[in-house]
């Protein structure tokens, strides 16, 4: 493995077992850090607001990201539109620690994702299934997260994507060497990475969960289903008790296998964000179908 990829996945390794929180200003980022977040995602609007307000969602303004970078010592991530490699160049120049090539923003290219090998800064990308995850890794992603359904406050899609990716990985480990080429073709994924997953039974980069996590139990559910960390978007700052909820989700993520700790984390919380029934959303309003 070349050194650049080692450094990129290395930072992703450091974020394992933690919570990465969406924030839109310095005050929120300090609340996140104080609550024990391992990183923050700097955004102009959280996904629930992007969904509600519509219009074209783009990379956040450099001024906003700078303000957030100056307010915390933990790593700062920021989102770019799918395929918008120039937004990524700008964020790399700005010095963000991780870039999320995200379906939450309006795609800039409906055929191609960014060639992430061309960057020194690491990228995280969303995936709904193994083929998508391995294509992103082939393009140079240093971390994969489920897409879930961002801004929905509904965990069902993240669960679907986590289960799917793990089922497909397990299946790969049962195949014979001679079956892997045709499987790679089916998955639409690079053959060498398919072989690696078949051998190891896991992705070659950390595998996190995102999209719809709103409660401590949601976070622990993702961890028990095999996620190595969680992203919480609208779930924290769209609830009526952000600081307390942020702490509770961090606690439940660390102690994801300890029912008593999850119970403790779940007590005395106010109301979670209201949430959406994803099955009632029209296809055109789904964010997870963006990306190819």
């Amino acid at each position: 493995m070349d050194n650049t990829i080692r450094l990129k996945t290395g930072l992703a390794e450091m974020l394992k077992g933690g919570v990465i929180m969406d924030v839109t200003n310095a005050e929120q980022s300090r609340i996140a850090e104080e609550a024990g977040a391992v990183a923050v995602m700097a955004l102009e609007r959280v996904p629930a607001d992007i969904r509600a307000e519509g219009g074209v969602a783009r990379m956040a303004s450099p001024k906003k990201i700078r303000e957030i970078m100056a307010s915390v010592t933990i790593p700062v991530m920021a989102k770019v539109r799918i395929g918008h490699f120039v937004e990524a160049q700008a964020l790399e120049a700005l010095g963000v620690d991780f870039i999320d090539e995200s379906e939450v923003l309006t795609p800039a290219d409906e055929e191609h994702h960014i060639n992430k090998h061309a960057f020194k800064v690491p990228f995280v990308c969303g995936a709904r299934n193994l083929g998508e995850a391995l294509r992103r890794i082939g393009e140079g992603a240093a971390m994969i997260r489920t897409k879930g359904e961002a801004g929905s406050g509904n965990i069902v899609e993240a669960v679907r994507h986590l289960r799917k990716i793990h089922q497909e990985m397990r299946r790969l480990t049962t195949l014979g060497e001679e079956e892997l080429m045709s499987e790679a073709k089916q998955l639409g994924a690079p053959y060498e990475i398919v072989r690696m997953v078949a051998r190891e039974g896991r992705l070659p980069v950390p595998n996190f969960a995102a999209g719809g996590i709103a409660t401590p139990a949601d976070a622990a559910l993702c961890m028990q289903l095999g996620a190595e960390s969680v992203f919480v978007g609208s779930g924290i700052f769209k609830s009526n008790d952000p600081a307390q909820r942020a702490r509770a989700i961090v606690k439940a993520t660390v102690h994801f296998n300890d029912p008593k700790a999850i119970l403790e984390a779940s007590e005395e919380l106010g109301e979670a964000m209201r949430g959406l029934d994803v099955s009632k959303l029209p296809e055109s309003e789904l964010l997870q179908t963006r990306g190819w």
């Binding site: 050194n3 080692r6 450094l7 290395g10 930072l11 390794e13 450091m14 974020l15 394992k16 077992g17 933690g18 850090e33 609550a35 024990g36 977040a37 391992v38 990183a39 010592t73 933990i74 790593p75 790399e92 010095g95 963000v96 620690d97 991780f98 020194k120 800064v121 690491p122 961090v250 606690k251 660390v254 102690h255 300890d258």
Partner: protein
Amino acid sequence: MKIGVLAVQGDFAAHARMLRRLGVEAIEVRRADELEELDGLIMPGGESTTMLKFLAEENLTPTIKKFAASGRPVFGTCAGAILLAREAINPAQPSLDLIDITVERNAFGRQVDSFIDQVETTLEGGSMEAVFIRAPRIRRVGRGVEVLAALDGEPVLVRERNILAATFHPEMTGDDRAHRLFLHITSRDDVAQSVRLRCAPKV
């Protein structure tokens, strides 16, 4: 021999893999009572601010200090080294004060400034590949602290009695000398005898 790896957050799995490769049982530690049976403790890389919250919340701070005072070895890498230091700066934050060093956080810059380089070491076998990720720098070492590896003359692996601290990630390379030295410090244990000494520092 059983070695605990603080598993609040961070790359604890990488340390556990390294320990298992050396034939040692690795136990994930999240609560104070889980420390009792252990022969040594590793504090991994990750985010020191997050780990600090849990050290306080789970009452791990006094337990780890007592653990170290019993003579059992504690090894901190990157964020772990920040937690073990006498003093952590940039910005200042509480630490366990188990080794007499001052550590500056994120001292090389942001992720784009992370790097891999060879460091000079007194451990047998010559220079060592070291992975620095948003790494801290050791700005001061106390008189009782031995420098075991350095980058351009600056300490990156240090030891004071049973406490070992690295600003890089030995768990992320194939080079197991730092971990073998750590296990060697657990020398009272019979099992440690089998993995010891080849990595003992030159005098």
